[in-house]
């Protein structure tokens, strides 16, 4: 086990009633690493991500985040979530707040930052995602791509140690995908630890330090993008990549 691992997943199982979605997943993510998780729909990759910040309760196995056992019921999950940013497929911006208000809310209520500190951080993060001219806009006045970038800024303002991206570009029109991917790319370059579930093969190839291929609730294969894309070992991986490209 690497000393540097920030997220450690051991034998993770998750079932919804009789439906087993995760059947024992092992995965470690080291600090500063960008891990892209690929796989056909229903392979359990989103569920895996949602178990990391306990939006889903694991039914077996362990997840460690830094030195906290996330899967322990006694763990104060809110403390863990402060340090784990999450970006959703459907953005989930708060529609009653402006872009700035969205980024400020949790800073003030969770981190107890002062209004002015929260505002400063909000403006900084919105600038980082290229939306400094949209800070006072409401979500309904923004395009999907812009909304998703606000959602990224909202997560970043909490100074997370790891960022989870759950199909962040899947709900976007094709012409809006680029802007969001560019923000994610620059985050990766800046050294952010990222777990990314996506269907964007180009992103996986260019940005990932490691590609993890999942199918039917298990990790089938993992390695560098070159290894997985150019020389896949498993038949299932070959099959999946063949269908995609």
């Amino acid at each position: 086990m690497s000393e540097q691992a920030i997220v450690r997943i051991k034998g993770l199982q998750k079932a919804f009633g009789d439906l087993e979605v995760l059947k024992g997943v092992d995965l470690e993510v080291t600090k500063g690493e960008v891990v892209v998780i690929l796989g056909p729909s229903g392979s359990g990759k989103s569920t895996l991500l949602r178990c990391v910040n306990r939006l889903e309760e694991a039914t077996g196995g362990e997840i460690w985040f830094e030195d906290t056992l996330v899967t322990d019921k006694k763990t104060d999950i809110n403390k863990v979530r402060e340090r784990i940013g999450m970006v959703f497929q459907s953005f989930n911006l708060f529609p009653h707040l402006t872009a700035k208000g969205n980024v400020m809310l949790a800073q003030q209520k969770v981190l107890k930052r002062s209004r002015s500190d929260a505002e400063k951080a909000a403006i900084e993060q919105l600038d980082r995602v290229g939306l400094s001219d949209k800070i006072d806009y409401y979500p309904s006045q923004l395009s999907g791509g812009q909304q998703q970038r606000v959602a990224i800024a909202r997560a970043l303002a909490m100074d997370p140690h790891v960022m989870l991206f759950d199909e962040a570009t899947s709900a976007l029109d094709p012409e809006l995908v680029r802007g969001v991917l560019d923000v994610m790319k620059s985050l990766a370059k800046a050294g952010m630890t990222m777990m990314v579930v996506t269907h964007e093969m180009g992103f996986a190839r260019d940005v990932a330090d490691r590609v993890v291929f999942m199918d039917e609730g298990v990790v089938v294969e993992q390695g560098s993008p070159e290894a997985v894309f150019d020389n896949p070992q498993s038949e299932r991986t070959k099959d999946f990549l063949g269908h995609i490209s």
């Binding site: 402060e82 959703f88 459907s90 911006l93 209520k109 409401y138 909490m158």
Partner: protein
């Protein structure tokens, strides 16, 4: 042609007699605050009850859900007029009520606008208990119409459930249900007229007395005017709020399933009343919406 003018004149004479209307005006005007007081008072008294019922209906435990469901079904499934009759005459038969009146004779003294408190008490009681049942559905549907992703996003940022409720879910719910809640008020305000049948001296009763003594319908038209004075501007406001809401939620949260926006029609919704939430495609119209 002459015949037409003659019949128009007759209609005017019976319904819109200027002299009779002028005579009725101050009397109806004096009763206007009674109707407004009962309507507004019952409305605000119904809100806590409605919220309580809504949270009970959303409870996990069947033991909590069941009494609330039963209450809502009974109240919404029976005529308000019947409920008024039961409360007005039934309540006075209770020994507890008779003791109360004996103990506090002041309750029988004129309270506001020349009407004694027991009358108001019974009016508030029946109308607020009735309205709470309708509001329960409005509140419940409102809270449940907020997409699940909102709670998830708030929780993923480290907020506690009460924080997420207070800063994310409830503010959105209030915005969404405000037009529906105002429509409920309009309906409630119009329903105060039913109290005329049990002798509450509000506008409709006063108008009926005038009509009986003058053999002329004009007093009713004056009363109608006073109801419209409140219902038309409020109805317009509801429409404006709904438009604003539809506009501001146009791009709320990416692609989300339509079922989250419009609460599914269930058995409760089928019983009378237009309490669907305001969405772009199903607008509740308080002025024409069927009710009770």
């Amino acid at each position: 042609m002459d015949q037409l003018i003659e019949s128009l004149q007759t209609i005017q004479e019976i319904f819109f007699n200027t002299e009779k209307m002028a005579d009725a005006f101050p009397i109806i005007l004096a009763a206007f605050p009674v109707s407004v007081f009962i309507g507004v008072g019952s409305f605000f008294l119904a809100i806590p009850g409605g919220l309580l019922l809504a949270f009970m209906k959303m409870a996990k435990s069947r033991l909590i859900r069941w009494p609330a469901t039963f209450y809502v079904d009974v109240v919404r499934g029976t005529p308000l007029f019947l409920q008024i009759l039961v409360v007005y005459f039934g309540l006075t038969l209770l020994p507890f009520y008779q003791d109360l009146i004996k103990a506090v004779p002041a309750l029988k003294e004129p309270f506001l606008f020349g009407i004694d408190f027991t009358i108001y008490m019974r009016a508030f009681f029946v109308l607020s208990f009735n309205s709470a049942a309708y509001m329960a559905e409005i509140f419940r549907a409102g809270i449940q119409s907020i997409p699940k992703g909102q709670m998830e996003a708030a929780r993923s940022l480290g907020m506690t459930t009460p924080q997420a409720m207070g800063f994310v879910i409830i503010p959105q719910t209030v915005r969404r249900i405000l037009p529906t809640l105002m429509s409920e008020f309009i309906l409630l305000f119009k329903d105060t007229a039913l109290l005329a049948a049990v002798g509450v001296a509000e506008m409709t009763l006063r108008a009926r007395e005038l009509v009986a003594s003058t053999f002329n319908q004009s007093a009713y038209m004056v009363a109608a005017g006073f109801y419209l004075l409140l219902t038309i501007p409020l109805g317009r406001l509801v429409g404006r709020l709904e438009d604003k809401l539809a506009e501001s939620e146009g791009g709320g949260g990416g692609k989300r399933p339509p079922t989250l926006d419009a609460p599914a029609i269930d058995a409760e919704h089928v019983i009378a009343h237009s309490n669907g939430l305001p969405t772009t495609d199903s607008r509740s119209n308080p002025m024409t919406g069927g009710h009770r």
